[in-house]
């Protein structure tokens, strides 16, 4: 089976390579510009968190593996890391989005944006690795494609 995988060191310099890879996946899946941007943002947010909170703040080092799969109806992105176990789904949706900035704590927006940018977002911890899954619906195919 054909594989699409990118493995990068878990540092912030890798974010650009991941975004390019996800953009490529979105092109393969024929997502429109807006869905593509949102998905790239989702993955970028989650991976920035893995690097900052999961690896750096915990004094850990390791790789991040990103893969994608295109099925007739969905594009699926899988992200694996060996950083601190963390389930972004446990992070509650911020309820202060309409507050003025000066009354908001800095942060808490990354996970929110990540979930907003996908149709389905899943997390599991397996074999010592975090596994985040991003699923986006593909546009209906036109017959003359």
């Amino acid at each position: 089976m054909a594989t699409n995988t990118l493995t990068v060191p878990g540092n912030l310099e890798s974010l650009k390579a991941v975004r390019d890879f996800v953009k490529h996946a979105a092109t393969e899946a024929q997502l429109d510009k807006q869905s593509s941007y949102r998905l790239v943002l989702s993955v970028d947010e989650i991976i920035a968190n893995i690097v900052i909170h999961g690896y750096d703040e915990a004094g850990l080092r390791g790789d991040i593996e990103v893969g994608f799969t295109v099925s007739p109806e969905h594009l699926r992105i899988d992200v694996f890391d060996r950083a601190v176990p963390y389930d972004p789904n446990l992070h509650r949706t911020p309820d202060n989005l309409d507050d003025p900035l000066e009354n908001r704590p800095i942060g808490g927006l990354g996970v929110y944006l990540a979930r907003q940018g996908t149709d389905d977002f899943q997390y599991e911890h397996v074999d010592g690795r975090n596994h985040n899954t991003f699923i986006v619906k593909r546009p209906p195919t036109t017959s003359d494609d």
Binding site: L15, K16, K33, L41, E102, G110, L113
Partner: protein, 111 residues
């Protein structure tokens, strides 16, 4: 495209022009520019984003930081943001706390 930032202050206005991709790896540059600009105690902060093709929450965090450093009274203008970047600003409610402009409007920003 690589991130680039130019900051310039005059008459109580700080203009920060950003291009390329603003992600967590470069947000520190934006924060530093805000910190330096804060020393001039500007009344307005204009963020020129016409050529900014990407902005993650790391950019939004720098905006919150600006309000905190420069005081809640600072007027923050976001000028020429692309549609995708605008969507992020709106989805997170930041449109309630900054003034969105299509183009640089000297009368409004410097007035």
């Amino acid at each position: 495209m690589a991130f680039n930032l130019i900051s310039e202050s005059s008459n109580g206005v700080t203009r920060i022009t950003m291009s390329g991709e603003l992600d967590a790896s470069v947000a520190g540059q934006f924060k530093t520019a805000v910190e330096q600009a804060a020393e001039n105690k500007p009344k307005s902060l204009a963020l020129i984003m016409n050529d900014l093709s990407y902005m993650s929450s790391a950019g939004l965090r720098a905006l919150v930081f600006a309000k905190q450093k420069m005081g809640a009274a600072i007027r923050i203008f976001v000028v020429g943001a692309q549609e995708t970047v605008l969507e992020t600003i709106e989805m997170t409610g930041f449109n309630h706390s900054v003034i969105l402009l299509d183009a640089y409007d000297a009368a409004q920003i410097e007035g």
